[in-house]
């Protein structure tokens, strides 16, 4: 009965949304997009929002990867919120998985090949993660996937060494410091230029590593933060086993 009801509802929703999206063209040229309107200056622009980003983005932010420019600079406030969401998730998982006395983990065995292999790989994976988030403003990638890669290196250690346990205090401190860096960079922008999260450092030459002002700084902070938070989540999840 419940299945039939759910199926009917699902099909209904499908039709409703399919009809709505049928009116939206796929792969349309950007010149057909509507022009944006600035509500503060009360004037209509002569181009659409994405066109503005693509035309002036390099001058506005100094980044070559426009997605990064949007994520960290134009919509940096969203990213701050997103980092907060992940922080909340790791805090929440930690508080829900909290047990008063120390957890006894069942010691599993893994073989020597896995142990040696993961020892070798661990460093490389961390390096790769760091590469991804340091070059976020130049190439695809950035803080989030970089952090996830770093977390996956810890995941490997968890799988290879049954007794491995990331120290919570260190994780907490690194994620707090990274978060504080993000907020302080934002507040510095407010103090220096009058806008929160203003990109106050010099842009440098495009396509060089030290360019795009505060974007690499923020992306490194995000990378460290995401890495330690995801590790914390994995750790809390592993800690459940008794």
């Amino acid at each position: 009965m419940k299945r039939v009801l759910a199926l009917t509802l699902a099909i209904l929703l499908f039709i409703v949304f399919a009809m709505a999206f049928a009116k939206i063209p796929f792969g349309e040229k950007m010149s057909n997009y509507p022009d944006y309107y600035n509500p503060i200056e009360n004037q209509t622009s002569n181009m659409s929002l994405p066109q503005h980003y693509l035309t002036y983005g390099k001058n506005d932010t100094g980044a070559t990867n426009m997605v990064t420019a949007v994520v960290v600079d134009y919509r940096g406030f969203d990213t701050l919120g997103e980092v907060t969401v992940l922080f909340l998730a790791s805090t929440g998982v930690g508080s829900l998985m909290y047990v008063e006395d120390k957890v006894k983990r069942k010691v599993r065995r893994s073989n020597a090949v896995v142990e040696t292999g993961s020892k070798l790989l661990f460093g490389f994976i961390i390096l790769f993660g760091a590469y991804i988030f340091i070059h976020g403003h130049l190439t695809p990638g950035g803080g989030f996937p970089g952090g996830a890669v770093i977390a996956s290196s810890f995941l490997l250690l968890y799988l290879a060494y049954p007794k491995f346990h990331a120290e919570h205090k260190k994780l907490n401190v690194s994620e707090s410091l990274a978060g504080l860096t993000f907020v302080i960079v934002g507040l510095l922008g407010l103090i220096i230029a009058g806008y929160f999260l203003y990109n106050f450092l010099p842009f440098g030459l495009p396509t060089y590593l030290f360019s795009a002002g505060v974007i690499p700084v923020i992306y490194v902070a995000i990378g460290v933060k995401v890495g330690s938070e995801l590790t914390g989540i994995v750790d809390a999840m592993m800690g459940v086993r008794e």
Binding site: A148, V234, R241
Partner: protein
Amino acid sequence: MDLFTIVSLILITIMIIAAIIAAEIKDLLSAAIASGVMSLVVSILFYMLQAPDVAITEAAIGAALSMAVMIFGIKSTKRWEK
């Protein structure tokens, strides 16, 4: 039909089949893996739609890590759905 359309159609079909498997299979571990496969296919679709940043993120976070977390969750609870 050009190559883009054909490959897209194939991938979208795989994606939907993976989602339906994840919905209907009783073994939760297989369901989690099916949803991981779906995420992986979606990340290829992201790449085809010219969103490499999103593709990397989806592959690293959406497919790999969330599947790992899900599998830990299943391991500390029950594997079979009633």
